[in-house]
Symmetry: C2
Subunit: 198 residues, 2 copies
């Protein structure tokens, strides 16, 4: 009784295996769970999926996911400091540190000429519009420390220079708790170069 030949199960396995990093084996395990779990559990999962699709939109200000626009952060927090990130999950990662109390700006991508993504394809114009309010004093560029992230940060920094706003870039160096021995050379030389007096 190859479970994969029973049509409704085969279809479910196929759908599950579209989830990120889910292979055939894992999709089968999930399908088994659905078969065995209560009717209620299965229905909750199915309706949650549809709920997210129908209720989640983008915040008209920061571009993050929200169920009501503007999002809670754009409503409740000051725009004095705006942290610019590539994707919603980057904002979530920063939010989890509990260190940042300002607003976010989600670019939804980074400049990448090879993939044909230029400055007009990401939310840079929206950032400039936001800053023209005169409330913002600092913009933190928190794009990833890779080629596209660096290029995007530099591009935005150049645009913001004439506006007399403080522009900063998140620090790059050795990860906390890691060992020098295993750091890659680029990171290590950057860490040396950006050394701080103590």
């Amino acid at each position: 009784m190859d479970i994969n030949k029973i049509e409704p199960i085969a279809r479910l396995i196929n759908e599950f295996s579209k989830l990120p990093a889910v292979g055939k084996k894992t999709a089968e395990r999930y399908a088994y769970y659905i078969i065995r779990t209560s009717e209620e559990n299965a229905r909750n999962l199915a309706t949650s999926i549809m709920d997210v699709k129908s209720k989640i939109t983008f915040c008209e200000i920061c571009g993050n996911y929200t169920d009501s626009s503007p999002c809670k952060i754009c409503r409740d927090r000051s725009a004095k400091i705006i942290c610019v990130v590539k994707e919603p999950k980057d904002a979530m990662a920063i939010e989890k540190t509990g260190e940042f109390k300002g607003q976010y700006h989600i670019l939804h991508g980074t400049i990448n000429p090879i993939s044909g993504i230029g400055p007009n394809d990401i939310r840079i114009k929206e950032l400039l519009d936001r800053i023209s309010n005169n409330e913002t004093e600092e913009v933190i560029l928190a794009t990833n420390p890779d080629v596209e992230g660096e290029a995007t940060a530099l591009y935005i920094a150049k645009l913001l220079k004439p506006l007399q706003i403080k522009v900063s870039r998140i620090a790059q160096g050795i990860s906390i708790g890691s060992e020098l021995e295993y750091a890659d050379e680029v990171t290590l030389s950057r860490a040396l170069h950006d050394r701080k007096e103590i």
Copy 2:
């Protein structure tokens, strides 16, 4: 913007994290996928989940999952040899080898006095009923090679003895492709004991 504080997303993450071996981090990744994927993809997943719940039942003969009872294997194959397994996924594992052309019998559990599971709690009576047809010539006991699986196999073997049916147990020994060095002692001594002349 902690994504976990947006209610529909928080609920979806919670539902995803009920899947086997899915933690918070993975559930978040799945939720992000749902947010970003097409409406159609999300709907397909949701409806496949509900379809499986409404269409999948147990085969009245072998007890395996099926969308029409009796299942395809019980309809199409001879009952000359019946392979007894603990769970549907065990039947699937054997089916994948392509070596077995008989029918299955799913016990839906093994005898486990500690958990209060006795012979009457698993599908042993159904197995005896099936065999009374006089068609069956051999029963292969393919429960797991653990304490409960062994006990269950022995129990069933004893019940079948008076019926003059050939009863066999799957071979236990060193896994193909593994190394002696890493085999556990119990497996290794069993492999020595059950050695075959070549």
